[in-house]
């Protein structure tokens, strides 16, 4: 198997047993990046090859002398909204052009403490606002399974990096599906842990009560492994709970008992793509074959999730993005007065970001607060209650990730905002409710596009998600398929070893 397509846990074993060196691993990924960066554009910033090889050299040294951490020698990609010291963490926005954070986000710090080699920053929708990767000031990444199509978003670049073999795993962020949807579109596992699991310190905030930084990987086992490495004492995020004794890799092991999979019959009748519908039907059969009982559940308020989600997210965005005032960092336009300077500076926001700031500002104005923002928060409570009731009769809920398949890029560019928001109908409920969820590959369409499914579990029951996901991947091979890099005309010249 190509090193670039080897799951993280296997790479770890190969490095530990001395089957490969960190230098070989890092150089393989570098070589792959050279081939696919231009056609697929996963990265917006890449560490110079010289620094990569220095870090690989150090990693080999630690491996030889028994000082290796769990990620020593493993190349990781990071979404551009997560601060990486001295790398241009610009959230794919002109507002942060040239900004290089003077510190690492806590999760990045933790990964580095474990020995990870952070290769670079990946493309995304501007400030994580979008599900196409097209609102990026950098132009957006392309889907390795079909380069004329979107990879999904907002963590599109991270999905492309892993799926195309340009990183062993990646960090993304999920505010309303931004990890799970691109993971589904690129045949990866995207795990949204329960709110409060990973430290958000150093993440450029968009919807603070909704978002989590989380892993994008090839397998469920890898996701648990990476999540373990991301954990650590958080000193900067007061919403991050303490993790004494948590071990997600351990949680992933063992049998599900009892094993009841909830399914909402209403989803069959909804506007699901035919291929997605069939793949989910097959997934239910797989779970039955694994000994699970499929139980019907009812989530009556889910139909209102998109409206409630966007009101909450936009309100929080308008508040969070007020910090971009051009006074302390990032883009700055100085005019005669302070107000003029603010306005001139904030011209740097892209179209979708402006739309959301204005909508959020509206939702928080005196006249609208009660009818919109507060109402949305009440509906949010009802949605959470729906899930809590459903989890009394099942361990996990099986759901679609996206009602549709990855669109063609030019098609996606012309979708009106509301239609685009509605495509998040299956992913936003988990963020609103504060439960955990995971998307994983469950099929392919006739033209070869990946299809993902979603599992959800009660707050802090990642053990159930991981166990059922592991059981599913032990039985199916969808996650083993790799993107057709060589068949899609992406092969290019392989550079000589420097």
């Amino acid at each position: 198997m190509d090193l670039c397509e080897t799951p993280l846990v296997q790479l770890r074993q190969m490095l530990d047993t001395g089957n490969v060196t960190a230098k070989e691993v890092v150089y393989s990924f570098y070589e792959r990046i050279q081939r696919v960066q231009e056609p697929l554009r996963p990265y917006v910033h890449l560490m110079p090859i010289r620094d990569m090889m220095i870090q690989a050299d150090d990693a080999d040294d630690w491996l030889r002398t028994g000082r290796a951490g769990v990620l020593t020698g493993i190349p990781i990609a990071v979404k551009s909204s997560i601060s990486v010291k001295d790398m241009p963490t610009d959230c794919a926005s002109a507002m942060l052009e040239g900004y290089r954070p003077p510190y690492d986000a806590e999760v990045v710090h933790n990964l580095r403490e474990c020995g990870a080699i952070v290769l670079g920053l990946t493309d995304m929708d501007e400030f994580a606002m979008g599900n196409t990767c097209l609102t990026s000031v950098h132009g957006g990444s392309k889907n390795p399974w079909a380069p004329e199509r979107i990879p999904g978003g907002s963590s599109g670049g991270s999905a492309v990096a892993v799926s195309s073999g340009c990183a062993a795993a990646a960090l993304g962020t999920d505010t309303g599906g931004s990890i799970r949807q691109p993971a589904a579109f690129c045949n990866l596992v995207g795990l949204l842990p329960t709110y409060g699991t990973a430290s958000r310190f150093g993440h450029v905030a968009y919807g603070s009560s909704l978002e989590q930084i989380s892993p994008m990987t090839r397998t469920v086992e890898d996701a648990a492994f990476l999540l373990d490495a991301m954990m650590g004492e958080s000193t900067g995020d007061s919403t991050c709970r303490l993790h004494e004794g948590d071990d997600f890799s351990l949680m992933a092991e063992g049998e599900m008992e009892p094993f009841r999979v909830g399914w909402c019959p209403a989803w069959d009748a909804e506007n699901l793509d035919k291929d997605v519908c069939q793949a989910l039907e097959k997934a239910r059969t797989v779970f039955e074959n694994l000994g699970a009982e499929i139980v019907e559940i009812d989530l009556p308020h889910l139909q209102h999730a998109v409206a409630a989600y966007y009101l909450v997210a936009m309100a929080e965005a308008s508040s969070n993005l007020a910090r971009f005032d051009g006074m302390r960092f990032g883009k700055s336009e100085r005019k005669k007065s302070l107000q003029e300077s603010y306005r001139a500076t904030r011209q740097g926001f892209g179209e979708e970001t402006r739309r959301r700031i204005l909508m959020g500002t509206f939702a928080l104005t005196e006249g609208a607060y009660k009818d919109y923002y507060r109402k949305a928060a009440q509906v949010r409570a009802l949605i959470r209650q729906d899930f809590m009731t459903a989890f009394e009769s099942c361990e996990v809920i099986l759901a679609p990730v996206s009602p549709s398949l990855p669109m063609l890029r030019d098609e996606a560019e012309n979708v009106d905002p509301l239609t685009s928001y509605l495509a998040d109908m299956y992913t936003v409920p988990a963020n609103l409710a504060g439960i955990c969820a995971m998307s994983l590959p469950c099929g392919r369409t006739k033209i070869g596009l990946p299809i993902g499914m979603q599992l959800m579990a009660a707050p802090f029951r990642e053990d159930l998600l991981l166990k059922s996901g592991m059981a599913y991947q032990g039985y199916t091979l969808w996650h083993v398929r790799t993107a057709p890099i060589d068949k899609s005309g992406l092969s290019g010249p392989i550079p000589l070893i420097p």
Binding site: Y99, P102, Y103, Y195, G196, S234, T235, S238, T239, C240, R241, L242, H301, H304, A307, A308, Y310, L311, D325, G326, M327, R328, F329, R334, K335, K336, S337, L338, Q339, S341, Y342, R343, R346, F349, R354, R355, L358, M359, T361, F362, T365, D371, Y372, R374, K375, A376, A377, Q378, V379, R380, A381, L382, R384, D416, P417, L418, Y421, A433, G434, P459
Partner: protein, 94 residues
């Protein structure tokens, strides 16, 4: 029906400049989105406590230990305009 919002006021509050073409387009788009969001009116939320945050239960406390913050020089390097040890901003009081 008149729009549910005053776009000029919103733009002023958000410190965002809009030209006429943008104003026209945004008025239509926002109206369209708000109409959809008004579907929440149909949900009976009487007596339901709003959920503003998914874990309201408690905030874990960290140890009260001294740690290093960013030094002035690092902060000034990021700032667009500095003078001596200060970050310079336009006059705040007019």
């Amino acid at each position: 029906m008149p729009p549910r919002f005053d776009l000029e006021k919103l733009a002023k509050l958000a410190r965002i400049d809009l030209d006429d073409a943008e104003k026209k387009e945004l008025t239509e788009e926002l109206e369209h989105i708000l109409e959809f969001m008004s579907s929440l009116d149909k949900v009976n939320t009487e007596g339901v406590a709003p959920l503003f945050h998914p874990n309201n239960e408690h905030t874990p406390l960290r140890n009260d230990t001294v740690r290093e913050g960013l030094d002035g020089e690092t902060v000034r390097e990021l700032a667009p305009d500095c003078e001596g040890p200060w970050i310079r901003v336009p006059k705040v009081m007019e």
